[in-house]
Assembly symmetry: C2
Homo-oligomer: 259 residues x 2
């Protein structure tokens, strides 16, 4: 690998064989030297989970013959992949970490459930400029073609400008043809939530069990949100921080009778 | 259950049989009608993971004979427990959700890995005043006695005052005798990170594997942080938000060449 080209770590949460990570690798190979360290199986909904009571396996694999990049398949979560990449596999701290392209939205409150974004956040806590990319199409046959120019533009600008301290990017791309996408919007996270609906069934031996399902409810009318941008044909970019302190709440709490 | 007493949901991430949740249930029984819905096995480090590709079991259990509260043991993550409690088990939205008492710290950046805090955050997204409690003692034999009066005071104030919209509390308690604890401090999350050290070993059939371990590095000298408070004998209370937007970064990103 060249010493002059940027070193780029690629990971995801849909697993190393997902079409989304293949599209991301293809774009990143045009920008720098690429190292892929990704879960060996799908890890959707894993949030910022880490493996602390089990062993981790991490193996060099060869998905594509004569590829310019290297790949490792890891038994852990997306966050585990970033940790093991940075500490055991990469010879130096990468210049960029990209995660995705996720099959499905990570906009709004979905950011807190997202393994894709947690991988980006983990790299961010280690001082690495990081971006999570998601396409609003859950299908394994999703067309990642229209995403590529936006992924490239945002990654290039991140490599050029860096990111503010303590900030990573949450990028969501609408499921549209290239000609239908209106551009890129910097947004805030919409104030939305999930209303759960559990599907209760009975197993063959008579024991009740549940499937988690639910409905996404957007309570936010703002035109500066990621939900608005995506509904209106824009790629949404939300700067995400991992200092979770609600500074605005501190005065109120200081007035409580706790002293 | 009475209609006048507050309805309190109790969960955790160390599992329904952990001593920490027993201490929390004991305190909550003095404040309201208690429903426990907690994981059937330890879920530490699960972050905001949810179970989307597997079934969930949730069974009424009787841990203590003639207890005033009810308990359900759930096969999922802490976040699953909150979702199933609110949507399938409780007859109305609870007045308070408490999670813990965790065996070990969830201060500073640990908040993003914490199943204890993710359960509280999940309840928060559903509009329920919520608190995660953690004691800085990983031992299963930890003494939760000194924690109880602080847990009770903070829960009482939360029931009385409510919490600002979009905010939950992250409470950490130092491992000290009751007489050594100086009081409660409202804090910001310290700017700290983990430096990983993987322990590489070889299994009996010759395959390499890793154990994740690491060192907590606090880069923050501030005396207004949770880390400072805990080191100086205070119970730390950090208001935590789940709007992760880094508003301060939006101007800078708007200056990028993306349009």
């Amino acid at each position: 690998m060249s010493e002059n080209r940027p070193l780029i770590l690629v990971t995801n949460d849909d697993g190393i064989n997902a079409p989304g990570i293949r599209a991301l690798i293809e774009v990143m190979n045009t920008l720098g030297d690429v190292m892929v360290v990704a879960p060996d199986s799908p890890q959707s909904g894993m949030g910022h989970a880490i493996t602390i009571n089990d062993t981790l396996y991490c193996n060099s694999i060869n998905v594509i013959k004569d590829a310019p990049h290297k790949e490792y398949s890891c038994s852990g979560t997306p966050v585990d992949c970033v940790k093991i990449a940075v500490n055991e596999i990469l010879k130096r701290k990468p210049d960029l970490c990209v995660s995705g392209i996720n099959h499905g939205s990570n906009s709004s409150i979905n950011v807190i459930y997202s393994g894709t974004m947690s991988a980006a956040v983990e790299a961010g806590t280690q001082g690495i400029p990081s971006i999570g990319f998601s396409l609003l199409d859950y299908s394994l046959e999703a067309d990642f073609g229209p995403s590529k120019k936006f992924v490239k533009a945002i990654a290039q600008q991140t490599l050029k400008n860096g990111l503010p301290k303590g900030v990573v990017l949450n990028v969501n791309i609408p499921k549209l043809n290239a000609s239908e996408i209106n551009g890129i919007k910097i947004c805030r996270q919409a104030n939305a939530h999930w209303e759960e609906k559990f599907d209760k069934r009975t197993n063959p031996v008579g024991r009740d069990y549940y499937w988690l399902s639910g409905e996404f409810v957007n309570d936010d009318e703002g035109e500066d949100t990621d939900e608005w941008a995506l509904r209106n044909g824009y790629v949404s970019v939300v700067p995400v921080q991992f200092d979770l302190t609600a500074y605005r709440a501190m005065d109120e709490l200081n007035s409580w009778e706790l002293k």
